[in-house]
Amino acid sequence: MPPTTAPFPCVVIPMHDEAAVIAEVVREVRRGFARVVCVDDGSSDDSAALARAAGAEVVVHPINLGQGAAIETGIRAALRDPAVTHVVTFDADGQHRVDDALAMVETAATHDVQVVLGSRFLGDVSTLPAARRRLLRAATAFSRATTGLALTDAHNGLRVLRRDAAADLRVRLHGMSHASEILGTIARRGWSYREHPVTIDYTPYSRAKGQRAYNAANILFEVACHRLRHAA
C-alpha cells in the first residue's frame, strides 16, 4: 500500500537515572513529535516525574530490566495507539538530534522501508573521540560480517521502525547487546532498511553515561551465544 497519509510517529525513550537531562530532552523531542513515550527502567531518581512533567507519557518498570527490555516495553506502549505508523527509538542522554529523527521518519515514509537506522559515520564525526571511533568501526565490521547487512554504524540508538516491524520486534538480550540483536532480527526477517546520516552530540554527560569500551567483549560473547542458539 502506498503511504498516502502523513506518517504519525511515536518516540520511545528508554531511560535509567537520567534526571539531570531528561526534562530538556523530552521538551526538545516534543518540539518535533506529538507523541513521546518514556520508559523508566527502574530509576532511583525522579526521572519519571520529570519526563511526565515535560509532556511525555511515562511507563515505569517496577524493577530494572535493561535497555533492550525498556525499548520493547516502549514499543508496545506506543503501538496501543492504532494511529501510530512509526516508532522512533531515541536515547535519553541528549546525544541525538530531533531534526535527524524527523528526517529519518520522512525517509521511512517516502521510501516505505521497515527500518531506518541512524549512522553517525555517514554524518559529521568530528566530535567523535578517536578511541570510540576505532571501537565503533570494529563493531560495525563485526556486525556487517555476521548479519550480512550493508551498514556503516552498528550501535546507534536512533532508529525508526515501521509499525509492522515494531510489532514483530522482540528484544531479549540484556545489557547493551540488544543493538546487535536488532540488527540480527532485521537480517533474519529480511526487513527492508536504510541508513540515514545522523550527528551525535558527545557531551561530557553522554560520555559519562556511555558504555565502557571493554563491554564490547561482553556484547561479542552474548551475540555469539545468541546466534548459535538461533542456528541450532
Binding site: P62, A69, A77
Partner: protein, 133 residues
C-alpha cells in the same frame, strides 16, 4: 608402563587410558551442546531425573564398597578411584552449572514479561484516571 612416558609416541600417548578420555570428551561435547541448544523437553527432564537417581545409587555403592570405585577406575584406564571421582565431580558440576544458567535465563525472560505487563497496566490505569479527572 607409564614409568617411561618419553618413549611413548604421541599416538600411543593419546590411546593411554582411552576409555576415560572418550567418556570425558563426550561429556564435554554434551555440555557444549546443552549450552547451545538446551531447551526444556520431557526427554531432558527424564535424563536429569535418571542421572540423579543413578548418582545417588552409585554413591551408596561407592560408600559401602569403596574398592569397587578403584576397580571401575582401573577398568576405565584411570589410576585411582579418587581420580575417577574427581572427573565425575567436574563433569557433573559443569552440567549442573549450565542447567542452572539456562534456567536463570528462562526465569529472567518470564520476569521481564511480567514486569512489562505490570508497567503497561499501571500506565493504562494512570491514563484512564487522568482522563476521568
Amino acid at each position: 608402563m607409564s614409568v617411561l612416558p618419553a618413549v611413548l609416541t604421541p599416538a600411543t600417548a593419546l590411546l593411554d587410558g582411552a576409555a576415560i578420555k572418550v567418556l570425558l570428551v563426550l561429556s564435554l561435547a554434551g555440555a557444549a551442546a546443552l549450552l547451545v541448544r538446551g531447551r526444556p523437553t520431557a526427554l531432558s527432564l527424564l535424563l536429569r531425573r535418571a542421572l540423579t537417581l543413578a548418582v545417588v545409587a552409585l554413591g551408596v555403592v561407592a560408600v559401602l564398597l569403596p574398592d569397587t570405585v578403584t576397580d571401575v577406575a582401573q577398568l576405565l584406564g584411570v589410576g585411582r578411584g579418587a581420580d575417577l571421582l574427581l572427573y565425575v565431580l567436574c563433569v557433573t558440576f559443569l552440567f549442573v552449572t549450565i542447567g542452572l544458567y539456562l534456567r536463570l535465563g528462562q526465569l529472567h525472560d518470564r520476569q521481564v514479561e511480567l514486569a512489562r505487563r505490570h508497567a503497561l497496566l499501571e500506565a493504562e490505569v494512570a491514563r484512564l484516571r487522568g482522563d476521568d479527572a
